[in-house]
């Protein structure tokens, strides 16, 4: 503050006092404590606290620490398993949840070993928010027995269909840790049922937006607040059951943590939670240092907003430099003002951390520090680092393909290490997993009279990418949760008025071709009966531009359409004519066995749509990418796939160049060799030298007429819908879709 040299001291004191009063007023009088930028942009663990320094200095021996670490891990798994049994959300029953122990500063130190590890780097921010904004706020505070809840991704979360329960853990009056559980609940009162509204045009269409808040004290939920949350969603039964389930799981974890403190001492337990974080970060750095420095690049394209087809670019460069990794997504497409596919930066980082924790280094301790050595660069205001004022409920449409971009680039880094000592200790080199949730959401009245809105766990059956030494596995696991399950049709049909006409059927030719082929996704053919009101929804992209990438000469996997048969009650028609069947949606669409029905296909972004009983909605999960040159695929493997109906005769002949004896179905090895030699010669004759090709191929601008979003050659120039509309990457504006 400037001071006047002639001003007497007393006035100076008064001015300072006034200034202090003004500062206190300004500090206390906050218009809105919204998402905290400082917390949300930093994914690194907090520095050691004095408590942690003291605990580590106490010098617990390594054996005891290992025992404690395993015990805490088991406790986190116990809480998760318990929730899978007692929670009501379909996703929780089949694994779409997580539980964990956090440091007193809010860093996730021990997460359940399976579950949705996206949360590893974004479950902590809500706790950090509570510590920063509510702990010392006299109307809130943080005390033993308090229960907090949150769901808004802008404060740290995947999306607001996930709800948390968070509790501080005190020991002898001191905050020593936090424990928590998070479940993908489904219904959340959004503009469409089911919790992931693609029709949302602003954050205020997305349903419950719970900033981190206290919902109970003395280990009990406040019933007025429970009622408020129930009153805000379409499924009050689910809301009540799972608020209680999450509390039960969280309290079990708290109990186990305190038992460990009782047995081994507070210092030993804190030394383990803190130490596990530090050990994990150090181990990832050691592994990164073993991978040759350099850069890898890929461009990916999101082909839909779920409302209209667009091409939204993911511009990915990954650099490894010593023991650090820089993931540079600058030059990617801009945020969309009124479409819900934007992602908050923290959610994007969570999904990318999933690559590390489950697809490259599943042996690492499950915690936040696995991502500590990574820096993510984005253009602020892009769809990959969106502002708080645009919707983000279906951010998976941008962060799933971003996962694939990183997954793909890492394989191109890791191959050398695999062949020169395997010091980075990665899993197998593999082509892209199918990175999209091709499955139905639903809303309506059940046969039991309840209104429900949620998602079919068919989304969990994504096809696995081909490995460097074997084929990918079918309908194996979703990229966001490697240990989750598809669920049981019988349970689904028992709870919902839904009939799965041809479910879990592996679809022919729905693979990434290669020396090793990708795994197939499974088909879903859905209809309903015995409900006065029922509708479907689909939130997937990849109907125009393939999503799963091949690796090292392998092809990607095909696009996936939505298929509908409307204007007919198939169940009645089948009752009348027993020869009619629906066991393959592709045959259904081509053969059109139901007279008078309307058959159509569409992209897989379908807003909530009311159906009539017996109408059919069908789609398939996608397949994983292929690995290596198709001409190197073992011809016997091709014949085996043909025999199993995984591929058509056309694919055996025209993709794999394998000849099969028409009479016996046996391999014709000599003819296959001839066909493959002929194809090799054909490649040499049709292939154009690179320089000549590049000159003819490359254009200065995206093609006119293509709804293109993102950079073209120059990452600082961002197109917003076509060649002529551009913005500088450092001054992005939200794009309004008309």
């Amino acid at each position: 503050m400037a001071t006047n040299p002639t001003t007497p001291d007393s006035t100076e004191d008064e001015a300072a006092a006034l200034e202090a009063e003004v500062q206190e007023f300004l500090h206390k009088t906050v218009l809105y404590r919204g998402p905290d930028r400082e917390i949300m942009r930093n994914h690194k663990p907090a520095p050691r606290t004095a408590l942690e320094e003291r605990a580590i200095a106490a010098g617990t021996d390594d054996l005891t620490k290992t025992i404690i670490r395993n015990r805490l891990q088991t406790s986190a798994n116990e809480a998760k398993d318990m929730l899978m049994h007692i929670a009501s959300a379909p996703s929780a029953k089949w694994g779409d949840l997580i539980s964990g122990i956090f440091t007193a500063s809010g860093d996730l130190a021990v997460a359940s070993s399976s579950g949705v590890l996206i949360f590893s780097v974004l479950a902590g921010p809500p706790i950090k928010y509570i510590l920063k904004h509510w702990k010392d706020e006299e109307t809130v505070g943080v005390r033993d027995g308090d229960i907090f809840m949150h769901n808004d991704a802008r404060f740290g979360n995947v999306h607001n269909t996930d709800q948390s329960c968070l509790m501080p853990v005190f020991h002898e009056g001191e905050l020593i840790a936090w424990v928590g559980t998070i479940i993908h609940e489904g219904e959340n009162g959004a503009t469409e049922p089911g919790g992931m509204p693609s029709a949302a045009e602003s954050p205020y269409d997305e349903g419950l937006k719970i900033s981190p808040m206290k919902i109970g004290e003395n280990f009990r939920l406040r019933e007025d607040l429970v009622t408020y949350f129930q009153n805000s969603v379409r499924d009050p039964k689910l809301q009540l059951e799972d608020m209680r389930s999450r509390l039960a799981g969280t309290m079990r974890l708290r109990q186990r943590l305190l038992e460990a403190v009782e047995e081994y001492g507070r210092d030993a337990v804190i030394a383990v939670t803190r130490g596990t974080l530090e050990f994990t970060g150090a181990e990832v750095r050691r592994r990164l240092a073993a991978i040759p420095d350099g850069k890898r690049r890929v461009v990916r394209f999101c082909d839909n907003t779920l409302r209209e087809p667009i091409l939204l670019k993911i511009n990915c460069t990954i650099e490894i430099k010593g023991d650090e990794m820089i993931i540079d997504l600058r030059g990617s497409g801009p945020e969309l003002m009124n479409r819900a596919i934007n992602t908050v930066l923290a959610s994007l980082k969570g999904m990318i951390a999933q690559v590390f924790l489950t697809f490259v280094w599943p042996d690492l301790p499950r915690n936040q520090a696995a991502f500590e050595p990574v820096t993510v660069l984005t253009d602020e205001g892009s769809a990959f680092d969106c502002s708080a004022e645009v919707p983000n409920a279906v951010s998976m449409m941008t962060f799933f393909p971003s996962f694939s971009a990183v997954e793909h680039c890492l394989q191109k880094f890791l191959y050398n290490d695999k062949h020169t000592g395997d010091e980075a200790k990665s899993t197998e080199i593999h082509a892209s997993w199918w990175p999209m949730i091709n499955g139905f959401l639903f809303g309506g009245y059940t046969q039991h009279g309840y209104f429900v809105g949620n998602v079919m766990t068919d989304i969990n059956g994504m096809g696995g990418g081909a490995r460097s030494d074997r084929d990918g596995e079918h309908a194996l696991a979703p990229i966001f949760c490697s240990m989750s399950d598809l669920g049981e049709n019988e349970m689904v049909e028992d709870e919902l008025p839904v009939l799965c006409l041809a479910n879990r059927r592996i679809m022919r030719d729905n693979q990434g071709f290669g020396r090793f082929r990708g795994g197939h996704g499974h088909q879903q053919v859905m209809t309903f009966k015995d409900s006065p009101l029922w509708g479907w929804m689909a939130i997937a992209i990849g109907s125009k531009f393939p999503l799963a990438l091949g690796l090292f000469g392998g092809y990607g996997s095909p696009c996936q359409p939505l298929m509908k048969v409307k204007g007919v009650n198939l169940l009645e028609a089948m009752r009348e004519d027993r020869s009619l069947t629906v066991d393959d949606p592709v045959a259904l669409m081509n053969e059109r066995p139901f007279a008078d029905a309307e058959y159509s296909t569409a992209h897989t972004g379908m807003q909530f749509e009311m159906a009539a009983p017996g109408e059919v909605y069908a789609m398939s999960q996608g397949g994983g990418g292929g690995y290596g040159d198709v001409l190197e695929r073992d011809p016997e493997a091709v014949v085996r796939d043909l025999r199993r109906d995984l591929i058509s005769a056309w694919t055996a002949r025209s993709i794999y160049f394998v000849a099969v004896d028409a009479a016996t179905g046996a391999l014709d090895a000599a003819e296959t060799e001839r066909l493959r030699d002929e194809e090799r010669r054909a490649r040499l004759s049709r292939g154009v030298p690179f320089d000549e090709f590049e000159q003819a191929w490359t254009t200065d601008q995206p093609p006119a007429g293509l709804p293109y979003y993102g950079s073209w050659a120059d990452r600082t120039v961002i197109h917003a819908g076509g060649p002529d509309v551009t913005m500088p990457a450092d001054a992005l504006q939200p794009v309004a879709m008309l």
Binding site: Y415, P546, F552, D629, R680, V688, P703
Partner: protein, 124 residues
């Protein structure tokens, strides 16, 4: 003695001559400080030649096949043995990706360290 580093299923680098080579046939693709693609043959495909329509394309707009107006497949072949080294899916005219950029000095340093027995040991 030449020092060869395997980089992908079909690509290796000779650190002494600083050249990309084909793993299958030894064809020299070109300078290792540039993109290996520069030494390959390229073929542009309508994506429906590979991912053909599975439902009737005469009748339906969305068929499991990619939209050729949106996506083209670029195939890269070794000029020596015709092995398909890489496949790239791009919008028509989109600049080709320089997907692998090596740090040759890092690789050479590791070779020297391992020869001297000073390399980092893998730990459990």
């Amino acid at each position: 003695m030449t020092t060869i580093e395997r980089i992908t299923e079909y690509l290796e680098v000779d650190l002494d001559s600083e050249r990309w080579r084909c793993v299958r046939c030894g064809h020299v693709h070109g300078p290792a400080r540039e993109s290996y693609k520069r030494g390959l043959l390229v073929h542009r495909r309508d994506p429906a030649e590979i991912h053909r329509p599975l439902v009737d394309a005469e009748r339906y707009e969305y068929t499991f096949a990619p939209d050729a107006q949106w996506c083209q497949i670029l195939e890269y072949y070794c000029p020596g043995c015709a092995v398909m080294v890489e496949v790239e899916y791009l919008p028509p005219g989109h600049p080709i990706t320089h997907d692998i950029e090596l740090d040759l000095e890092w690789l050479k340093r590791r070779v020297a360290e391992r020869a001297a027995g000073t390399g980092t040991e893998a730990t459990a």
